[in-house]
Symmetry: C2
Subunit: 223 residues, 2 copies
């Protein structure tokens, strides 16, 4: 990830986002702009971030490495959202990494300069509470779903979620991590879906061939 010092690009980003609406102090005055390429790390494991980031464009994934050695993909985040907010409020112990999935633009407030301002800004804190609460809800939902439903149901929901145009193109490796199952088992279930005609393999990915059946499978998950 590298910093972009072009003042015009920064101004453009600021004006094309809700960034400033999150603060009751003139945050724009402190803002920097960063650009991350696909695969770049925005937060590295065990590193104290120097900025509070606001993802302006792009998509990232958050994961942590267990003592197991296994890497567990925790969640996807899409712009707009905060990154590094847990560290700001000082509740971060685990070593987490945030990695860009595609090109990302991040507005950033330097913690050193803004920490006190942020921690006394009721508007920002309220926005942050909502954001944290929403994240919490999602986590709780997936926590209980993972335990309550076998992969077939969760995969059906994921296929529908991740295929806006009816074409599924996620990496199997990513999907397996996200769904919390082994790569092997994901492939099993995909080929099972193929056999049943729910999906059809294409040159690159799958086409959702029987949306109704997938929705039926996914039912009971949406809560």
């Amino acid at each position: 990830m590298h910093r972009i010092d072009d003042v015009n690009v920064l101004a453009e980003c600021l004006s094309s986002s809700d960034f400033e609406l999150n603060f009751s102090f003139p945050a724009a005055r402190y803002a920097r702009l960063f650009h991350a390429h696909a695969g770049d790390f925005i937060l590295r494991e065990g590193e104290e971030p120097a900025y509070l980031y606001y993802l302006h464009t792009g998509r990232v994934k958050l994961y942590l490495t267990l003592s197991n050695g296994k890497v567990s993909l925790i969640d996807f985040f899409e712009a707009p959202c905060f990154l590094g907010e847990m560290e700001l409020i000082g509740v971060q112990r685990e070593s987490r990494a945030i990695q860009a999935l595609g090109d990302c633009r991040c507005l950033a407030l330097p913690v050193r300069e803004c920490r006190e301002l942020l921690l006394h800004d009721a508007l920002f804190l309220r926005k942050l509470c909502v954001y944290l609460g929403t994240k919490n809800n999602r986590n709780v939902a997936s926590l209980s779903q993972n335990q309550a439903f076998p992969l077939a149901n969760r995969l059906a929901a994921f296929l529908l979620f991740a295929s806006p145009d009816g074409h599924y193109r996620e990496r199997h490796t990513h999907a397996a991590e996200y769904l919390g199952v082994s790569y092997r088992h994901l492939l099993h279930t995909l080929s099972d879906f193929s056999r049943k005609g729910y999906i059809v393999k294409e040159t690159r990915g799958y086409r959702l061939a029987n949306r109704a059946a997938l929705e039926e499978k996914a039912r009971g998950i949406e809560s």
Copy 2:
């Protein structure tokens, strides 16, 4: 759960807790006191709470009922903590219930009167952010652990966690919910631990007989 109108008891509760330190306005003026017996519901599923609760004494469990019909135990909370804060900030969609595990005392602020005060109080909001962030961390940790380790490891950790005096006395039904496995499988694994001599069955519960072995099993989980 019923309200306690004794002003002296209320005053006593206020003075014996950090309650007032969470707010920069005179919250004590608005505070009520409630008492819940074991099994009482503090929040019912699908009900909009009229109060922001601060658990003064006691222990509660939070769970939600899936469309599945299955009930999923999400978490335990111990005093002191907030309850109903998700609803206050307006990010609550799922139907959750909070049930007292033993006798509980709750300080409570009426949402109708305090909502605006609370949502503009930077001190309270900051405390709430920390609280939500901590909750989030716990959820993420258990989310990834559940996926990464079989029950034997998690159970070992749970036994050590839930047996301060070396005697385990949790309800199997509760434990099974909490660990996210079937009752049957929990019993399997317990009897396996028995056979291996890790634990010894007593009149009521189990005694941890081989703490070292349990710690070995639990290792790799503590992150």
